[in-house]
Symmetry: C2
C-alpha cells in the first residue's frame, strides 16, 4: 500500500504537495497512470491543479469510478482567502465561483473532502482514503495553497487508517450462507463464474479458496480475466455468452447453478448481452449484497459469505471443466500463411507470457483478442471494458509499469491499436523519463477496426494518419540503446519471442505488429454487430 503511506506522509510533510501543485498540471499521462498503478498496486493518487488540470482528468476519474478503481484525486487550489474574495484568477471561469469544478467531480467521486480548515483537515483526509479503499472508487480532495503549511495533529499518524471492511451481521451472514449451501449442495452441475468486482473488491483470496475447495469448473468473464489461476485444472475459459471460448457456453448455460462472483453484465463484457443464464440458476455475490435466485440480501459483503461457504461446503457434485490451452486452432496449425491474424496471435501470446506478467489491452481488437489467451499463474490483466476510453491503455501502462517495477520488476506488456495510441502517445515520453520498461505492441491495422465493425467500414474517420511508431521513442528522447521492432510475419514474431534480450530487457521495447485491416477476433465481431443493431 505504498500510495497510502505517501498520502499520509504528504500531510506530514506537505511541502511536497506544494511543489507538485504548480507542476505540469494536467499532463496527459497522469490521469490514466493513477488508474493503472492502482490496478496493480491497490490504490493510486493523482494531483492536478484547479480548473484546467482537474477537468482534464475527469474522463480518467470517471473511468475509475465506473470500473471500481480506488484513486485519490488531489486538487491544488488558490488560497482560501482568494476563494473567499472571489478573485479573478487564471484557471477560473472568471465569475468568482470556486466551487463549480468540485460539483462536477462530485458525481464521479464516492467522497469529497475540501481541506479548508486545519481543524477538520486530518479527519477528512483519513476518511477520504478509507472511503476510497472500502468503496474502491475515486475520492476528491481539494488543497488550497495556504493550507499546505497548516499544522495538523501529527499524532494521528501513529495509528494507521482503519481500512478493514465492516463485519457482516453474523446472524444474517449465517442465514445467507445456509441458503447458498442449500442450493449449492443440491446442484447437479454447479459452476463458478468470476467477474470484475471479485478483483476490484479484493475477494480473490476467497475466490481462490472456493475454487480449490470445491473443485468446481471455474470460468471468468472478459472483465474477470486474471482473477483466477488460468493454468489451474478447474479453469474452463472465458464465458461471455455467444463470445465465449469454444465449448464454454455449453457448459455454463447448461449448469443448474452458477456461482456468479462480482458480475458487471455490461454490453462489452457479455458480447452484446448474449448471456443465456437464468436468474433461477444463479447466485450473485457482490460487495454489498448477495442474491440467491430472486431473493436479495442487501448490506452484506461477499467476502464473509464466501469464507463461510468454503468452510461448510461439504460434498458437491463436481463435473469436469472444459480443457483449455494455448494450442492453436487446427486451421492455424496447418496453415502456411505468414499473415498475423487474431486467430493465430492470441494463443501464441499465451504461450509466450510468463508468470507474474502484467498484461494490458486497449479496447478494440486487443481486449477482445485476449479472451483467447490462456494466462500463466499470477498474471494481472488490465483493460477498460466498461468505460472504454480510447487511449486509456497507454496511460494505464505507464502507471502499471511503475507499480510492476516496484513489485520485483514484473514485466508489463501492452497491446494497443495504431489508432488508440495516437490519443496518448506522449506516455511513451513519460515512460522514458521515468526509466520504465514495458513492452508495447502497436497493432498496425490501418485505423479503427472496432469502429469499422460498428459503423462506417470505409469511412475516412476510421482511417488514421500513418505514423512511424517504432521511431517515436527516438524523437521523444530515447537514448541510442533504444530499438524498435517491425514484425510482419508469424516467423518474425515467433523468432522475436525467443530473443532473450527482447524478453527480459530492462528498457522500453516497442513492436509494430502488422495485421490485416479487416481482421478481428470473432467475439469483437459479435459484440459490434449487437452495438450497431442497438444504435438503429
Amino acid at each position: 500500500m505504498a500510495s497510502i503511506d505517501i498520502a499520509t506522509r504528504e500531510l506530514e510533510n506537505p511541502v511536497d504537495l506544494a511543489e507538485y501543485i504548480f507542476r505540469r498540471l494536467h499532463e496527459v499521462g497522469i490521469r490514466y497512470a493513477a488508474d493503472g498503478y492502482a490496478r496493480v498496486n491497490g490504490m493510486g493518487a493523482l494531483i492536478t491543479t484547479f480548473g484546467v488540470g482537474e477537468l482534464s482528468a475527469l474522463n480518467a476519474v470517471a473511468g475509475a469510478y465506473s470500473e471500481f478503481v480506488p484513486i485519490v484525486h488531489i486538487v491544488g487550489q488558490p488560497t482560501t482567502q482568494s476563494q473567499k474574495d472571489g478573485m479573478l484568477l487564471h484557471h477560473t471561469l472568471g465569475n468568482g465561483d470556486f466551487n463549480v469544478f468540485t460539483k462536477m467531480s462530485a458525481g464521479i467521486s464516492c467522497y469529497v473532502a475540501q481541506l479548508n480548515d486545519p481543524h477538520y483537515a486530518a479527519t477528512f483526509v483519513d476518511s477520504a482514503i478509507r472511503e476510497c479503499w472500502i468503496r474502491s472508487r475515486p475520492v476528491y480532495v481539494t488543497l488550497p495553497t495556504d493550507m499546505i503549511y497548516a499544522k495538523v495533529d501529527g499524532d494521528r499518524l501513529k495509528k494507521p487508517i482503519d481500512l478493514s471492511l465492516p463485519d457482516n451481521d453474523p446472524e444474517k451472514e449465517d442465514y445467507v450462507v445456509d441458503v447458498v449451501l442449500k442450493y449449492l449442495q443440491a446442484a447437479k452441475n454447479p459452476v463458478i463464474l468470476v467477474d470484475a468486482c471479485a478483483i476490484r473488491h479484493r475477494a480473490l483470496t476467497e475466490v481462490h479458496d472456493l475454487v480449490e475447495a470445491s473443485g468446481l469448473p471455474t470460468f471468468v468473464t472478459p472483465m474477470g480475466k486474471g482473477a483466477v489461476n488460468e493454468s489451474h485444472k478447474n479453469f474452463g475459459g472465458v464465458y461471455a455468452g455467444n463470445g465465449s471460448n469454444a465449448g464454454v457456453r455449453e457448459v455454463v448455460e447448461s449448469s443448474d447453478l452458477i456461482l456468479s462472483i462480482g458480475a458487471i453484465k455490461s454490453d462489452f463484457n457479455t458480447a452484446g448481452f448474449t448471456y443465456r443464464i437464468g436468474q433461477l440458476n444463479t447466485i450473485d455475490f457482490h460487495s454489498n449484497y448477495v442474491r440467491v435466485r430472486y431473493s436479495e440480501y442487501p448490506d452484506i459483503n461477499m467476502k464473509g459469505v464466501l469464507r463461510k461457504v468454503v468452510q461448510k461446503m461439504g460434498k458437491l457434485n463436481v463435473t469436469a471443466a472444459p480443457r483449455i490451452t494455448n494450442k492453436l486452432p487446427e486451421s492455424e496449425q496447418s496453415s502456411s500463411d505468414q499473415t498475423i491474424t487474431h486467430a493465430w496471435l492470441w494463443p501464441v501470446v499465451g504461450q509466450w507470457l510468463k508468470e507474474n506478467d502484467v498484461v494490458i489491452t486497449e479496447t478494440g481488437t486487443a481486449n477482445f483478442g485476449i479472451w483467447d489467451t490462456r494466462f500463466p499463474a499470477n498474471v494481472t490483466a488490465i483493460s477498460q471494458v466498461l468505460w472504454g476510453s480510447i487511449g486509456y491503455s497507454m496511460g494505464s501502462c505507464q502507471g502499471a509499469a511503475l507499480a510492476a517495477k516496484e513489485q520485483n520488476n514484473r514485466r508489463t506488456i501492452l497491446f494497443i491499436g495504431d489508432g488508440s495510441i495516437q490519443l496518448t502517445v506522449q506516455e511513451l515520453s513519460t515512460i522514458l523519463r521515468n526509466k520504465l520498461s514495458p513492452i508495447v505492441f502497436v497493432i498496425c491495422n490501418e485505423g479503427y477496426t472496432i469502429e469499422r465493425y460498428i459503423h462506417g467500414w470505409d469511412a475516412r474517420y476510421n482511417d488514421i494518419q500513418p505514423w512511424d511508431f517504432a521511431s517515436i521513442p527516438k524523437v521523444f528522447g530515447a537514448d541510442d540503446g533504444y530499438k524498435g521492432y517491425r514484425i510482419k510475419t508469424r516467423d518474425e514474431l515467433n523468432k522475436l519471442f525467443t530473443e532473450q534480450d527482447f524478453c527480459t530487457s530492462n528498457r522500453l521495447r516497442l513492436v509494430e505488429l502488422y495485421m490485416p485491416r479487416d481482421d478481428a477476433p470473432s467475439a469483437l465481431k459479435l459484440t459490434a454487430e449487437a452495438a450497431a443493431a442497438r444504435n438503429k
Copy 2:
C-alpha cells in the same frame, strides 16, 4: 458564419452526424480546435461521444466558457430507449444514470438542449445556436443515435436563425449616452482601453469607429491584443499595470477618463493586479451593462451605446499617444550577442509579421512576450490568458489554421514552449492529415520557465524530457518535403525571416527556437512574483 450553416445543414442531413458520432471520439485535437476555429471564424463546433468523449473535452469547453468563445458541443448518446431502460452500456458509470455527464457540462454551458423528442428538437437546436452566439459561450447539445433519423420540420430552415442582439431600450440608451458624453467631453486627457470582451462580444466595429472619430490615445490589455489596428497613429501600446509597454503606464494612469471597453481584469491580464486606475476615472462598457464611475446601468449592451457616443461625440480634448514601434531597445540594437533573448525576439517578430496573420501564443513566456510585439493591421491574436490551460495553443492552432485557410489562406503562426507542446503534440498529426500549414515556433528553453518563476526554480518537475521537436512531423507521417528548422542565433532567425519559402510555403513549418532557460519577458517576471506571493 460557416459553422452555423454547417450546424443547420447537419439537421437537414443528419446522416453526417451519425457518421461522426462513432468516429475517433474524443480525439485530443477536436476539443481545442473548436475554440481556435471560433476565435478566427466566429463560431465553432465539436462533436464527442457520450461519457468518455465529452469528459475529455470539458477542460476545453470550460476554457471557452471562461473566455467567451462560442462553441456548440454536440454529444452523441445511446438511443433514447437504451437510456430509458438504464442499460449497462460501455461509456457509462454502470449505474444506469444517463444524465450525470449532462449535469457536469451544465455548469460550463450557457444553454443545454437534450434532443430526445422530435417535436422540440428543431426549436432546441435553433435556441442553442442563438444562445451560443448572443452570449458568446458554449452550449451543450445531446443527440441520441435514434434521433439522428428523426424527422424535423425542414421548413424552419428557410428562415435563418435570428442572431441579432436585442435592441437596447432607446430612452435608457440615450440616458446612458448623455452621461458618458458629459464626462467624456469634460475630460482633459481621456484614453481608450480595449480588452477581451470587445473582441468576444463583437464590438470591434464600434471600437474602431470610436478610435477613428475621437482621435484619442488607444491602448489594449494583453487579452485585447489584436482588437485594434496597432499600426494606427492613435495606438499607444499595451497597458497592464506594472507590466505595461514602456511609457504606457504613465499616460493611462494619469488620464482623468479611461473608456474601458470589455474589461476582464484577471491576474494575468493585469500583471498581477497592478492596475492603478481609479473607478472615479473610469467608464466601463460591457455586453450587458455600462458603469460610469460608480453608477451602474444594467441590461444595456455597449454596442448601441458606443455607436451613439460616436455620433454625438463633438469635440474632445485629445493628447498624443505614446509612439510605439517594433524598434529594438537601445541595448539590443548595440549588442553583438547572438543569444535569442525575449527582449530581442518579440520586436523582431513584430517586424516580420504581415497584415492578416493569425498569431497564437501559449500561456508562458510567449503570451507575455507578445506584449512587446506591435502587430500590423488585421492581425488576429489568440491566447488563453484567463483560463490558461497548458497545451491549449497547439490545439487551438489546428482549428485556427483551418479557419485561416478558409479566409483566403491567412498565415497562422504559433509560439509554444517545449514543455507545453508535449501535452498536445498529436495536433501536429491532425495538421498534417488535414493539410494545414501553420508555422510553429517551439521555444526550446529546457522546460517550464513560467513555473520556475512561480515556484521550484531548479525542481525536476519543471524540467522536461528532451524531444527532437523538428523531427516529430516526420514520425507523424509528414512527406519528404517537410523540413524542420533549428535556430540558435539571431543571425539565423533574421535569415530565416527573409526566406521566401519559409515565409510563404503552404506546408507545415516547425522551428526549434533556442532561448536561455532562465530568460523571460519582464511582464512575466512581475506577474509570476505576484502569483507566488499570493500563494503564500
